[in-house]
Symmetry: C2
Subunit: 250 residues, 2 copies
């Protein structure tokens, strides 16, 4: 419900964002971001002009650009925050559950819920996120913190479930990243979803998670060894490196 007022430094990336010289500048920054998010929700991304944001926030256009490299960058802050909120919400919701499929479903459903209010303009900036050169791309270096947070969540989805100990260690290592990719697919589905309250995406999650869980479960059996080994190799060699290898770090 309430946005605003960044976790203060939590999402301050040393690499790209504006330099926070710590004082009321942080307040201005928050004000601008807050105003922008409100207008985005009210009118959509494209229809919200930088001039409108500045005017509404009571600052000059130039000032907005002092804090945010570009209009797109206004989104990164919100993106980080949502990831963080999602992780917290998902953890809380799956606390009492041990079943892997259920945990996975909860984690994904939680994302859909957290993102719900932004669905209106999500597609408009999804375009930007799809640009490989954009720092908004989920694969970019700038998105690394958010990605790491999400991957960590999926690690917990796994380790908190009863199938965790039964899995091949190497596969268990890869799974969090793979599940994150799975989330990316759900996000893609969600962006394109035009049904009321994105009901179709929710249904998609309900239907697909048990199957995903089943596949992972089956991977333990002897018959599947060769194919699982190949799949692992493929993902390890071709997918994760491109995606910004989170695996193997801490």
């Amino acid at each position: 419900m309430d946005d605003s007022t960044e976790p203060a430094g939590a999402s301050e990336l040393p690499g790209g964002r504006a330099l926070p010289k710590t004082d009321k500048s942080e307040q201005t920054r928050a004000l601008i971001l807050h105003t922008a998010m409100r207008l985005f929700k009210e009118r959509g991304y494209d229809k919200t002009t930088m001039r409108a944001i500045a005017a509404e926030a009571g600052v000059s256009v130039g000032n907005a650009y002092y804090y945010f490299q570009s209009k797109e960058f206004l989104i990164q802050g919100f993106y980080d925050r949502m990831t963080y909120e999602h992780a917290a919400d998902a953890r809380a919701r799956m606390a009492g559950t041990k079943d892997f499929a259920e945990r996975l479903e909860i984690a994904l459903a939680s994302w859909v819920d957290c993102a719900a209010e932004y669905h209106g303009f999500a597609s408009q900036f999804f375009r930007t996120a799809a640009d490989p050169n954009s720092s908004l791309s989920p694969f970019s270096d700038e998105s690394h913190p958010a990605r790491a947070t999400a991957v960590q969540l999926f690690r917990e989805v796994l380790t908190g479930s009863e199938i965790a100990p039964k899995l091949d260690a190497e596969l268990a290592e890869l799974l969090p990243d793979i599940l994150w990719l799975y989330l990316m697919i759900v996000v893609l589905y969600w962006v394109f979803d035009r049904t009321p309250d994105t009901e179709r995406t929710r249904e998609f999650v309900r239907r697909s998670t048990p199957m995903a869980a089943r596949v992972i479960n089956l991977s333990r059996y002897r018959v599947f060894r060769p194919i699982v080994r190949d799949a692992k190799g493929l993902i390890q060699d071709f997918i994760l490196p491109t995606v910004g290898r989170t695996a193997g770090k801490q």
Copy 2:
């Protein structure tokens, strides 16, 4: 090597493009498109201004807009054409091959080859293609012809192979669309690929096609019945409808 001079009507969609009143206007249209493509290749999409295109083509900006609804629409023509060329090239290349995995690999490798010269600016307009509201989206109605062409190609990849008759009929029905989705993943990979000559994507294709073929092969065995059935249901109910159901049409 040579672009230009649209197949004359071949890619004229009744829905969206400019109305060709048949005469030298078609020539102007082609001139503009041709010039645009050249400049895109030379300088990239973003760095090519409409003014530059118009100037270079020796027409006014307004004239360019008379033929093309927007800068993005300049791309659709080329997109259609490439799809067409790809289908032709792939067919020729896999003519003598019966092995499914090989045919699949050829079809995908052919795409990478056909797209090679556009890789430079592909990522810049890929952004637009990722917008669900854009007609450039591979899932949009406007892209339906191109999609249908590609799906048809994959149908032939399948029917021309020796495993075709052994497959469950229902699955065989779905496979062309699924393989097209596979191509979309390759495209995604390719867009993000920064290696010289997109060598990594080529390697990805070489490595992933045999595995895909193996999975499809395995689907015939009894043990996998339930999971294959679920997967089929999932794709049929949730993926294809969203994607613009080509399946079931002729």
